[in-house]
């Protein structure tokens, strides 16, 4: 069951009615029951079993850790983490050795016969496994007390809003709201609906139209090259953004209907001026997870501290301290890429490529500083800022080419093809053969302009935090930031509703189950 299906709509409506008819504890039971139903519907009994098992392990380990002595506490923590990590590894990385052999052969231009083993992974395992490990680590570190209510922990572990595609929420942030009675507020309804419709608009009106170009061009690499491939790469970056962030708008909007604020996952990523900044604005909850639970602990180990001292001896104080950072970045980004799946297109496109960008940025930073000083360039100059954003978009889009490709061979074919002189896209005949109807093109162009205008407005009302876990918590909601007057918000929501109904891709014959990130 996808978030764009009628089944989901009905589930939300019925749950909402029951939810606001009950008090405190029963509200969580409604959420738990709705989540169980959703998991059964979308993932079957085995998914429910593994999600429940995962939750039970963490819940019990949390209690045990808080009661145990120091030595025992660590043992419980390690065992519980191994159990969670083990399940993730078995379900997701069974084919990793095979894919690695395949990638090695591809790089040498050789054939390799490999059939991936089929093992149906539980629904959303990539997301819920990280949430469980985050909870265990927070309790182990003493950052939060263990969960005491199995119902409230069950809701956190199974919540139908974040189980498929995140956000990767933290129990410490949801425990409070889940322990209070949530009263029906017209404000939440209006804000939630506006955001939900905004998400639907991004997904059904924009993303699905962009997909027409992307699928058409990438589906026939023998025919399309040159300008077509550059265009497809641009369209895919926008498609992925509207698809994934659209889904997050729907999830966070629905959360607001229930009076629950989930973690923000996107903050206008294409306004980023560097690759590092991009990752503070794109899939934020994933980046933060890797930062807090992997990068920081890694850099604080004795081994990395020694590496830092060694680096300082070798390269001097300023550059030398970057040595542990670069090694840490490599490990973290490799695992970030791997998280998306055992395929090397992910490991490179969503991992090592970005790690390379960031390491180069670190190494050349002194040179950039000298350049700025020598030229007296104003870095806040609009043209310079626009150039930096464009450069970041190009770098990131290169990563998404790998991400979209079925194999490394296909990715390399796309990059090579981009160099072929073919300006066919710019001829009327060459453009329209891509299968986009003129009316649809108008909707897409106007829709993208609206997306840009809304993003700019949002950009003006928020700040991008870079350190700490508190970001985005006390901010006004999406709707309030966009339009201060409730009446304006209602008009905007109505207009969105009409646009989604008139121009959305849905209904019979449309495969609504295809959010890109739901495969992870």
């Amino acid at each position: 069951m996808s978030y764009t299906s009628y089944g989901f709509l009905m589930l939300v409506l019925i749950s909402l009615l029951l939810y606001y008819s009950f008090r405190g504890r029963f509200q969580n039971l409604v959420l738990l029951f709705a989540s169980i139903l959703f998991i059964l519907w979308a993932g079957g009994l085995s998914s429910l079993f593994f999600i429940a098992l995962s939750a039970a392990i963490s819940f019990l380990a949390g209690i045990a850790m808080d009661r145990a002595q120091a030595g025992r506490k660590k043992a419980v923590y390690v065992l519980a983490m191994l159990a969670q990590g083990g399940m993730l590894a078995v379900f997701k990385y069974l084919n990793f050795p095979g894919y690695t052999m395949l990638a090695l052969h591809e790089l040498r231009g050789l054939e390799y016969e490999f059939t991936a083993m089929e093992l149906a992974a539980p629904l959303g395992i990539s997301f819920y496994a990280l949430m469980q490990m985050g909870y265990l680590t927070d309790v182990y570190w003493g950052r939060i007390p263990h969960a005491s209510s199995p119902v409230s922990y069950g809701v956190f572990s199974s919540l139908f809003l974040h189980i498929i595609q995140g956000p990767i929420d933290r129990y410490g942030q949801l425990a409070g709201p889940l322990s209070e009675r949530r009263r029906f507020q017209a404000e939440n309804l209006l804000n939630g609906l506006t955001r939900l419709l905004w998400g639907l608009f991004k997904k059904l009106v924009l993303s699905e139209r962009l997909a027409v170009f992307v699928n058409g061009i990438y589906g026939d690499l023998e025919v399309y090259n040159g300008s077509y491939l550059v265009f497809a790469a641009i369209c895919y970056s926008l498609q992925l953004y509207t698809d994934f962030s659209g889904c997050m708008d729907m999830v966070l909007g629905t959360g607001e209907l229930f009076g629950i604020r989930l973690t923000e996952n996107f903050k206008q990523p294409f306004f980023s001026r560097s690759d590092a900044e991009f990752w503070r604005r794109w899939h934020i909850s994933l980046g933060n997870w890797f930062r807090d639970y992997l990068m920081y602990p890694l850099l604080r180990t004795e081994a990395f501290k020694r590496l830092g001292k060694f680096g300082k001896k070798l390269f001097g104080k300023k550059q030398g301290k970057k040595l542990p950072l670069c090694v840490g970045l490599f490990i973290v980004w490799f695992l970030l890429g791997l998280w998306h799946g055992g395929m090397w297109t992910f490991i490179i496109g969503s991992g090592l490529l970005h790690c390379t960008y960031m390491i180069l940025a670190e190494i050349f930073e002194p040179a950039f500083q000298r350049f700025y000083k020598a030229t007296g360039l104003d870095r806040e100059n609009r043209i310079w800022r626009a150039f930096q954003m464009l450069r970041t978009f190009v770098l990131v889009s290169a990563g998404f080419v790998f991400f979209r490709s079925d194999s490394l061979t296909m990715a390399f074919q796309i990059f090579r093809g981009m160099g072929t002189p073919n300006g066919g896209l710019f001829t009327a005949e060459g453009f329209w053969e891509l299968g986009m109807a003129p009316a649809d093109l108008w909707v897409l162009v106007l829709g993208l302009l609206l997306l840009f205008a809304v993003s700019r407005k949002l950009e003006q009302t928020e700040e991008i935090a870079s350190v700490g876990m508190e970001e985005g918590r006390d901010q006004a909601s999406f709707g309030e930031r966009l339009l201060a007057v409730p009446l304006h918000r209602a008009v905007f929501a109505t207009a969105l509703f009409l646009m989604v109904v008139l121009w959305g891709f849905y209904g019979q014959g449309y495969d609504a189950a295809s959010f890109i990130y739901s495969r992870f």
Partner: protein, 79 residues
């Protein structure tokens, strides 16, 4: 060590770490206020503060301190 002295020393550490003699840290200074204080620089900064005050921050503290004021609180508790 008084709170003022803690802040004075913190100021020195920040100036050294971010290579900027104009930095003045206050209670409510956060990563947003200082150029270069990103997640990559954060651990280096923490290590420099630990060395300067001979204290040790736990992982919970490293990941949850919200501003320099909170950092000063933790330092004073530990000294």
């Amino acid at each position: 060590m008084s709170r003022e002295e803690v802040f004075q020393k913190l100021n020195e550490v920040f100036r050294e770490e971010f290579d900027d003699e104009e930095i003045v840290v206050r209670e409510d200074t956060t990563a947003k206020d200082i150029e270069g204080w990103d997640s990559l620089e954060h651990i280096d900064l923490i290590a420099a503060v630990e060395d300067a005050f001979s204290v040790h921050f736990s992982m919970a503290e490293v990941t949850s301190m919200k501003n320099v004021g909170e950092m000063a609180d933790r330092i004073m508790e530990k000294m």
